[in-house]
């Protein structure tokens, strides 16, 4: 795990300087600028999918570190932020999967009175909603987070997740139907 400092630099990676700024005829964005511009968005995406502020920062950092190490390649992409979004979405879901095993242990620990629960930074109604989102199938949850947190368009989500716009639309529709069923069963959708 590498920690990004406040300036977006990666300690211990001084020898891994990305190559020069000009890529294929256009001015490539500097990593520091890119990091400052995208950092909070990526944390937000990770936050929505992981449900943990601490994990969200870790997940976003890991994605940026991955981008930094391949910055010569990533920066040359039309949308470097799309690549980072994809990493965040993938790794957030992996983290959530591990968290499931953790949750079972936490339930046991809390039952013994020995495990503090982590307070949420979100209003309770939003936290309830995101909890339900994380219970959705992976793709549906990712589509919801990308759409409502990052405010991406369907083509952008499709590109991030590597699927068609129609698939994204289907995921979003099914996600909302499921959420209505779960949050207020009996109501018509």
């Amino acid at each position: 795990m590498t920690i990004l400092d406040a300036g977006g630099q990666v300690p211990g990676m001084a020898d891994e300087q990305p190559p020069g700024p000009r890529v294929e005829g256009r001015i490539r964005e500097d990593f520091d600028v890119f990091f400052e511009r995208e950092r909070k968005k990526m944390i937000g995406l990770a936050y929505a999918l992981s449900g943990s502020g601490i994990a969200a920062e870790d997940l976003a950092q890991e994605a940026f570190v991955a981008a930094y190490r391949r910055w010569d390649v990533v920066a040359a992409l039309d949308q470097p932020e799309g690549w980072v979004r994809k990493v965040v979405a993938n790794n957030s879901w992996s983290w959530l999967r591990r968290r499931k095993a953790e949750s079972r242990a936490v339930v046991k620990a809390v039952a013994r009175g020995g495990w503090p629960t982590q307070p949420s930074d979100l209003p309770s109604d939003s936290e309830e909603l995101w909890c339900e989102v994380r219970k959705l199938p992976r793709r549906q949850a990712q589509c919801v987070a990308l759409y409502y947190v990052l405010d991406l368009t369907m083509p952008e989500i499709a590109e991030t997740l590597g699927c068609s716009k129609a698939t994204v639309n289907t995921h979003l529709r099914r996600a909302k139907e499921t959420l209505v069923d779960r949050l207020e069963p009996g109501r018509e959708t």
């Binding site: 920690i3 095993a101 620990a109 930074d121 995101w130 992976r138 959708t189």
Partner: protein
């Protein structure tokens, strides 16, 4: 609630996320601590067994109460005096140790993959169990090793055999060097009764214990390289598990290998069949020394072959759902398995009638390329994997 309502709530929830992130400008706590926060409950999850092979060996287990006895809230900066009550609390709760003190037990900080883990040896453990450091030498050494500056010894074995029947076998903690003297560990130091057996695996003594009631099986053995091994399984017979261990050892050709079994896992049809513990270890595969080994993984739902490198690291592939009999797979075996370089990341090439390469892509996705895809593209699957990465 209508779709419009849910739409509104989702939009508000999205704004709330962004607001929360915007106002949270301070850095998070140490990522290292975060990772430990993940590791601890994973270990604490009942019946989760984490086996790390190669290098400093850390073997952590939990009992059914969920207490991770291998990391009992004792940090690397904790002195023996500070740690003893914590450890005592656990052991006292478990009814195995009335008191812990410098004269009655030994506290040993041991370097593991995640840092230091403090463990304690009750004084009634036979001296012969203190591998390489018997008797007074062990006590003196352990009494000295009360701080982070002590990197050794990692040569300590603690097995709670106090009831002589291994009813609490899952409470055992063991930290081995790579060349544990197995005879010292159990066959001479302890008397077994009940359902404990001592089969032979490839000519090496092993220890097998079946839990009454649950039917789950613990198996300890030494592989052909001298590395201590452990497996836990349920839903199989002791003969099957022993055969499995023998298979693994036979195929090892001297390299370390482990078997991770996660009987507490639950199936999720929406999930990729990648067990969370092993997935975490997957990350360590970058830049390791490539030394192929093969094992088998089975959590009761998902089953497959596991491939290990000599350096700490595990990668799995060739997963099957519960309908597939892994032991049938063992019977026909895997023809060939090796770790391959996929543009700097480690991939696994498996040949069991056809080739498949599994690796983690830069974007975090786990990808498998099989021979069918390779045939369509008329290139080697490893080459396809490199292109995909």
């Amino acid at each position: 609630m209508s779709m419009n309502t849910i739409e509104d709530r989702l939009r508000k929830a999205g704004r709330d996320i962004n607001t929360a992130v915007a106002v949270s400008s301070s850095p998070s706590e140490s990522p290292v601590r975060s990772r430990r926060g993940v590791l601890r409950p994973l270990i604490a999850a009942a019946a989760v067994t984490l086996v790390v092979v190669g290098g400093p060996m850390l073997f952590l287990m939990s009992d059914d109460s969920g207490v991770d006895v291998g990391d009992s809230g004792v940090s690397e900066s904790t002195s023996f005096e500070e740690a003893a009550p914590v450890v005592k609390e656990y052991w006292a709760l478990d009814g195995h140790l009335d008191s812990v003190g410098s004269e009655e037990g030994w506290l040993c900080p041991v370097r593991g993959p995640e840092g230091y883990t403090s463990i304690v040896a009750p004084s009634d453990v036979p001296a012969s169990l203190m591998v390489d450091l018997p008797g007074h030498e062990a006590e003196e050494e352990f009494n000295r090793s009360d701080g982070p500056e002590c990197h050794q010894p990692a040569t300590m074995v603690l097995v709670d055999f106090t009831d002589s029947s291994m009813q609490k076998a899952e409470s055992a903690i063991a930290v081995w060097p790579s060349a544990t003297r197995w005879d010292d560990l159990c066959l001479e130091g302890c008397a077994f009764s009940g359902d404990a057996e001592t089969p032979t695996i490839n000519g090496q003594p092993a220890l097998l214990h079946t839990h009454p009631g649950t039917g789950s099986i613990d198996l300890w053995w030494i592989d052909s390289s001298g590395a201590p091994m452990y497996a836990q399984a349920s839903g199989v017979t002791s003969e099957e598990l022993t055969a499995l261990a023998g298979f693994m050892t036979v195929d090892l050709e001297g390299h370390s290998v482990g078997l991770a079994v996660l009987p507490d896992s639950e199936p999720d049809p929406d999930e990729e069949p990648l067990p969370e513990v092993l997935e975490g270890l997957f990350d360590r595969l970058d830049h390791v020394e490539i030394t192929p080994s093969v094992g088998v993984w089975d959590d009761g739902y998902w089953r497959g072959a596991a491939y290990f490198s000599e350096s700490p690291g595990v990668v799995i592939t060739t997963l099957f759902d519960a309908a597939f009999d892994p032991y049938a797979m063992l019977a026909r075996s895997v023809d060939h398995a090796e770790l391959v370089d996929v543009n700097g990341s480690v991939g696994v090439l498996v040949s069991d009638g056809f080739d498949r390469v599994t690796f983690r892509r830069d974007d975090g996705a786990v990808v498998s390329v099989d021979a069918e895809a390779a045939e369509e593209n008329s290139v080697d699957p490893v080459e396809i994997a490199r292109q995909l990465r």
